[in-house]
């Protein structure tokens, strides 16, 4: 490609990326406002604004500040985290159909949460920490298995190890669930379907910190991801330490996914679908792709949560069900395109 051609491509990419980012941010802002105003109880926008400032009817203030606002924020942060994690993993594995849950993260987190229920740990913080510990343990196990079997961080081994660890985790979950009393069983199953129902400001803080740390690290390694995406041999020829970089990105992306699972349970398809949307909107390099994914992932999950709590109000649907209903048609369309 000539320099002129490269410059033309760069300009073309920027010309689509910027509007896409602006549109994404605008959509996220509008959805957040809607999510604060609409729910099982519709509130006038003026009352919502007053309530955010702490003034107005005490019940409205309580609904907006203590129930809806943390919920909307947590959904946005979880969506952003899952999308960034998915984008990074798709780049590392060079597979647009990869997502965090393929690599054992969800299974490990579910084991942690179910075991927490089995041991009578009822607090949201306790379940969150147990889920994160389970996900982190699964992530390290997958990495270790891939290195032991493959001799280095082989992406095919990572995928296979992830499937194996996930299958083992499912077996542990089933055994644990079979012995749970009805109350704990119900809670564990609900957690596994994904929800931000129990969002709190403390949970928002924890997820925000995880996104800042792990997501920030992924953005910092975005250039290395660009090199890895060329393939192992070209990347090595360009001086990249393929093994170390792959491992770093895998661990960071998995820990970020683990944090989202710990915060909101199992919410599938976001990490798969959104990075592909970002690429379709013109994001080629991984840094803009992950940033765009974060914005669109946040918007998607805020929208999904809005649907989950309004479609059958006052009953609330699991978040994972909504994202699956949105994600499966997209996944099938993408699959068809790839073949």
């Amino acid at each position: 490609m000539t320099n002129k051609g490269a410059a033309r491509n760069a300009a073309s990419a920027r010309s689509t990326l910027v509007p896409a980012m602006v549109a994404g941010l605008a959509a996220l802002a509008v959805l957040c406002v809607l999510a604060l105003a609409i729910g099982s109880v519709s509130l006038p926008l003026q009352d919502v604004v007053s309530a955010l400032g702490g003034s107005g009817d005490a019940t409205v203030v309580s609904i907006v500040r203590d129930s809806r606002a943390p919920r909307v924020l947590l959904a946005a942060l979880v969506g952003a985290g899952l999308s960034m994690s998915g984008g990074a993993l798709q780049g590392t594995l060079r597979n647009p159909l990869a997502e965090p849950y393929l690599l054992g993260v969800s299974g490990g987190a579910a084991v942690g949460a179910v075991l927490a229920s089995a041991f009578g740990i009822g607090s949201a913080f306790g379940v969150t920490m147990a889920a994160f510990a389970g996900a982190a343990f699964a992530t390290l196990s997958v990495s270790l298995i891939a290195r032991v079997v493959g001799g280095r961080t082989d992406t095919r081994m990572l995928l296979m190890a992830g499937v194996v660890v996930g299958a083992f985790a499912n077996a542990v979950i089933i055994v644990a669930l079979s012995g749970l009393p009805a109350d704990s069983l119900r809670g564990a199953l609900w957690w596994m379907m994904g929800s931000v129902h129990d969002a709190s400001w403390a949970g928002v803080g924890r997820m925000g910190a995880a996104l800042a740390v792990f997501g920030g690290a992924l953005l910092w390694l975005a250039r290395e991801l660009d090199v890895l995406a060329l393939g192992e041999e070209p990347a090595a020829a360009l001086g990249a330490n393929v093994d170390r970089t792959s491992r770093q990105i895998f661990l960071l992306a998995s820990f970020l996914a683990a944090a989202t699972v710990a915060a909101a349970g199992l919410v599938g398809f976001v990490g798969l679908v959104v990075p592909n949307i970002a690429r379709a909107l013109g994001a080629r390099s991984h840094r803009p792709m992950m940033l765009l994914s974060a914005v669109y992932g946040a918007a998607l999950l805020v929208f999904a949560d809005l649907l989950a709590r309004t479609v059958r109000s006052p009953t609330q649907l699991p978040l994972g069900a909504i994202t699956a209903l949105i994600g499966v048609p997209f996944f099938l369309a993408r699959l068809r395109k790839l073949t």
């Binding site: 309580s62 949201a124 119900r186 809670g187 080629r284």
Partner: protein, 332 residues
Amino acid sequence: MHWRPKLRAVSSRKPPRAKNRRSRHVLLTVVIAVTAIGAACSAKETSRPSDSSKPLATVVAASDTDDFGVRFPMDTLVAARVVSLVPAATEIIFAIGRGNRLIGRTTWDLFPDSARLVANLGDGIRPNIEVVLAARPTLVVLYASTENRAAAAAFRKAGIAVMAIRVDRIADFERLTKQLGVTLNAQRRAQQVVDTVTATLQKVRTVCADAGKPTVVWPLFESPVYVVGKGSFLSELLDIAGAANIFADMEKPSPEVSVEEIAHRDPAFLLTSPSSVNRMEANATWQSVRAVREQHILLVDTLLVSRPTVTLGMAAVSLARLLHPDCASSLP
């Protein structure tokens, strides 16, 4: 299919420092272990008072501590606007003449008929907090399960009194009725309800005392098999109605067992709901149970007997009529 990012020259970097791989793995392991320990040491489940079976004559006092171990105000002014997210509590509130205080109930609160006129606020487990807050209650009666702790905290934070309860045993029903009686300023009526139910239960026990005690099993679900265990008010009703629950040695309210175990324990009768009996009789596995094989199946009015509330007396009468039809004329 495979996208190619825009290639930029990788800037020259200093060679990475040699890292101690083992120390990194150790550090990660320690982080995970600390996290797991932190989870284990976090707020523990508050255990309910141990509830060994009590004779009916025990006086159960109203308590101002709910089943989450939190004190709730017994001030009658608190209970001006009540949301009941527990069907048993809804029935009791109507029974003590305070149904006019109810401003919200769950989808499952169907008794008495008047309850259906109260606003439906959704589920009682993981309730919709917004909807409950919007009803502006002063008191919420909530089921004391693990999943409802967050909701209880949210309601308390909003300045609403919360009474978290579980009704697993007959003594729990008595305690709850008296608690609601005090909170809703209907103590005398609440005591009347408790006395009426207690008297009926005592009468049934007396009538059935000499009628023999056939062994029974009561599967609540047939696949997997969950049966009535010692920890359930249903087991207490069986005892009152003159039956010996073959799984009364199991502490759980509804333990999971195998059909083999039921066949081994060989109950004289099997109690079940009308909707389950056809499936059981058609299932070859259940034919190993003699009571099924010989058609010693008793059909239970599950709508009546499955509610741990003001209908406990009638539930005991219903079971006694099934188990001891000869004593029917002596029963209330």
